[in-house]
Amino acid sequence: MIEQEKFGNFTHQDAPKYEDILQCMRCGFCLPTCPTFSLTGRERSSPRGRVALARAVGEGKMEFNQAMKEEAFFCLDCRACTTACPSGVQAGSLMEMCRAQVSQQHPLPKWQTGFRNFVLTKMLPNPDLMETSMLPARLYQQLGIQWLVRYSKLLKLGPKWIDKAEGMMPELHQPLRQNIPQFSPATGEKRGTVGFFLGCVMTLMYAEVSRQTIKVLNHQGFDIITPKAQKCCGAPHMTEGDRETTRQLAQHNLDLFMDLDVDAIVTDCAGCGAALKEYEELLAEREDHTRLQQFHSKIKDISEFLVEVGVRAENLIPVNKVVTYHEPCHLCHAQGVSKQPRDLIRAIPGVEFREMKEASWCCGSAATFSLKFTEASQKILDRKLHHVAETKADYLITANPGCHLQLAWGLREADMPQPVLHLIELLGEATPDH
């Protein structure tokens, strides 16, 4: 537990820091980039407004009340404001802190807490349990959707969310973690060794994508070590305000991967990448600083990594398609990886890249936001689909499972022809099978 001096009406544990809040000079540059402000036009639903609410709580001018709680969860945590903010305010992170405050200051009734804790602290962190306990309807249950059905009232999910949740499910394959070898060797001239961090959602829902990641990395000349003991990155816990479990998961993954002799730790999930890069801050109080920095410097999104080492394009098969690219918030805003995916797309022979408008605007998925605020999420999605349609692209490319689910569902509902591909699937299409 991290204790600190009590800050106004926040509790001791996991409270925002006054310095971080004061950093906001209220210039308003964040306003035009915030999807929820754009939707409601309400200052309190803008990054500047949310920070001001947090400031009022910290200065004891306002209780940690319902409005603060609502805004903490209505924030998409898309981090677009972080990119726009010239003074370096992290409104998204501050709202994550406020979510942690919600669980402390507005605790759920005991029976509800029990079940929620079971999912967050027992099921998600334990991949074996998650993958094997509920085999018959794998996804339905593994993603906790059954749990969501039972407790939809408790989560305040939006109208029609269940239709959407079921509609979003992709065709399922065997979860990857159990089936891939711990070691898969490079083909051609070897260029190095990487550790592969499998995200829960990727391995459960997009196992094929992760297979492509292995194929591509091997073909690009990298040995891959995929430790079986890896656990969830902690992002879902962080999102729900459970920072303690996040820290435990972080510690586990950190120890596991730091024991490997690898040049980089690669992930194909933008959400996981962002979370892994935040371990440094999350564990700052309890872990050696140098070790945290070393870990941080090794974490690479797959596109970030491939562009850094340079793509060997000579054996690639041309893919004669027009593609456009949706930037996952957790890649471009949270990790600042924006140019690399485009460079990677352009490196594939035959591909014609067409930029869409507002490529870095959130798609409305945002963890459970799309199920909690179905209407708001739909409006944000419509804006995105409109820009996709304008490009007349054959493929819509993205690089994060949350966006992938939301976009694929949206395109289907809107009868639009484009399939959604993970960037690595596109590169996989261009990569020969040995």
């Binding site: 310095e19 004061l22 950093q23 000079m25 209220r26 210039c27 308003g28 540059f29 306003l31 035009p32 036009g41 309400r42 200052e43 309190r44 500047r48 407004g49 001001a52 609410l53 009022a56 001018k61 306002m62 009340n65 409005a67 603060m68 903010c85 010239p86 003074s87 370096g88």
Partner: protein
């Protein structure tokens, strides 16, 4: 407190979504970008038409509560802070561009249109709206008129007020007036529009604005010049003008600013130099070539240490963006920033820099200075922490001394941010008690009950 009946009356007139009275919403509509200032309003309304503004004002007048107009709340002198409580009237839902008139070269827009949206809309028709305040991405055109906002292009193209042709406003009694029109010439009676420009919402609420447009320059050229002392940079500015070249932009950044900007945008600005000038010339290609050569000649004569020409549009844009980030980049490194808006006749630039340096040392403060060198408009910015009362006192003493000098040199206490709450005392020093008395009489003529944005520009009588 405002009674439930009055809230209901406002809801009936403006619609439920356009009247806000929950404490959390009120809390976040009581600030702008001025540090340290906040006051919670009692109610907030979002009128969607001139008629709705009239209705809101009539109710406010009947009830006798103050009305403070607000756009995006990006102001830097506290102009939109409801210091006396009452009603905040947000104009940002009146955000339609009503007409782009290509024959008369005008654009007519509602007050809540975002400046950059307006500039982009006219650009799409091949026209140019030059004023570009640093906050253009979020500032409203109504707010720009009310503060007479400047920007980076004022040297050649002038400020917001130079483009205002007509205004439609609602007076505090709920009646409307329209002043000006699309005619190029108009000398009929008092020029109310000029009175309303930079009136900071104290005389009337502007709802519609007609602005003059011009054809865009065909091309431009951006240059960077580095200097090993700041006086040389000041001299370069005067010499360029003396060579009869009017660049569209001539911006200066001192060492502190350069380092903060470089920390943030990392575009390879040299950290050891004392100052840099960002210069842009624009117009017909032949003129641009000639003026660019002229500027470079002067820069060499005054011994700029290095001259760098932007290779292409992207690079030029990057440089201008870096300059726009100056304040924010400094805000990154300190919890608070106190930025001022001192403006002097151009020939006093070098002295002003020397004075800033002297006073920063005297009061033991870190000050970054940047600004519109060509306009003599500087933004000395104190990097501070609003929780440190001693430091804040020293910061205020710093500005106090600085303004004494600025006024001595015939300068002004505000080039483009307005007086608001922050600079009322300085205004009185600049225009004298006679000047303030006339301003107050004008105020009374427009607003006899004193309900519009009270407490701004000058002190109320009882505050003396």
């Amino acid at each position: 407190m405002i009674s439930k009946a009055v809230i209901q009356e406002l809801i009936n007139e403006l619609g439920k979504d356009n009247v806000i009275s929950t404490p959390e919403d009120l809390l976040v509509l009581g600030y702008d970008a001025t540090p340290g200032l906040h006051h919670r309003p009692d109610i907030v309304v979002y009128p969607t038409s001139t008629e709705k503004v009239q209705a809101a004002l009539q109710i406010a007048r009947k009830q006798g509560f103050p009305v403070t107009p607000r756009g995006s709340g990006s102001g830097l002198s506290g102009g939109s802070i409801p210091v006396k409580g009452g009603m905040v009237l947000c104009l940002n839902r009146m955000n339609n561009i009503l007409e782009i008139d290509e024959e008369n070269l005008t654009v007519t827009a509602q007050a809540g249109v975002i400046t950059l949206d307006l500039a982009n809309a006219v650009l799409a028709k091949g026209l140019f709206y030059p004023p570009d305040p640093a906050s253009q991405k979020i500032s409203t055109i109504g707010g720009n008129v009310m503060e007479d906002a400047g920007g980076l292009r004022c040297l050649k193209y002038g400020v917001t007020g130079d483009y205002v042709m007509a205004l439609k406003c609602v007076l505090p009694d709920g009646s409307t007036i329209t002043t000006g029109g699309k005619s190029v010439k108009d000398v009929a009676g008092y020029s109310f529009k000029d009175l309303l420009i930079s009136s900071e919402g104290t005389l009337a609420i502007i709802t519609e604005i007609t602005l003059r447009l011009i054809p865009p320059p065909q091309t431009n050229q951006t240059m960077l010049a580095y200097f090993d002392n700041i006086e040389t940079a000041g001299k370069a500015v005067s010499e360029i003008i003396a060579a009869k070249i009017i660049p569209s932009t001539m911006e200066i950044m001192d060492k502190t600013t350069i380092n903060c900007v470089e920390d943030y945008v990392k575009i390879g600005l040299p950290r050891e130099i004392a100052a840099l000038l960002l210069i842009e010339v624009d117009g017909h290609p032949a003129v641009v070539a000639e003026e660019s050569a002229g500027v470079q000649k002067v820069l060499k004569q005054v011994k700029a240490t290095e001259i760098h020409i932007a290779a292409n549009k992207e690079e030029a844009l990057g440089l201008a963006t870096a300059r726009r980030m100056a304040l924010s980049a400094m805000a990154r490194v300190s919890p608070s920033t106190l930025m001022e808006d001192a403006t002097v006749p151009r020939s006093y630039m070098a002295q002003t820099f020397a004075e800033i340096e002297h006073l920063a040392a005297k009061y033991n403060l870190i000050v970054g200075t940047f600004g519109h060198a060509g306009d003599g408009n500087l933004h000395p910015t104190v990097l501070c922490d609003e929780r440190d009362t001693d430091q804040m006192k020293r910061a205020h003493a710093f500005f106090d001394d600085l303004y004494t000098k600025v006024l001595e040199w015939g300068g002004t206490v505000s080039g483009e941010h307005g007086i608001g709450i922050a600079k009322r005392e300085y205004l009185a020093r600049q225009v004298g008690s006679g000047g303030v008395a006339v301003m107050k009489r004008i105020k009374t003529a427009f607003d006899p009950d004193g309900i519009l944005n009270p407490g701004k520009i000058f002190f109320d009588d009882q505050e003396f």
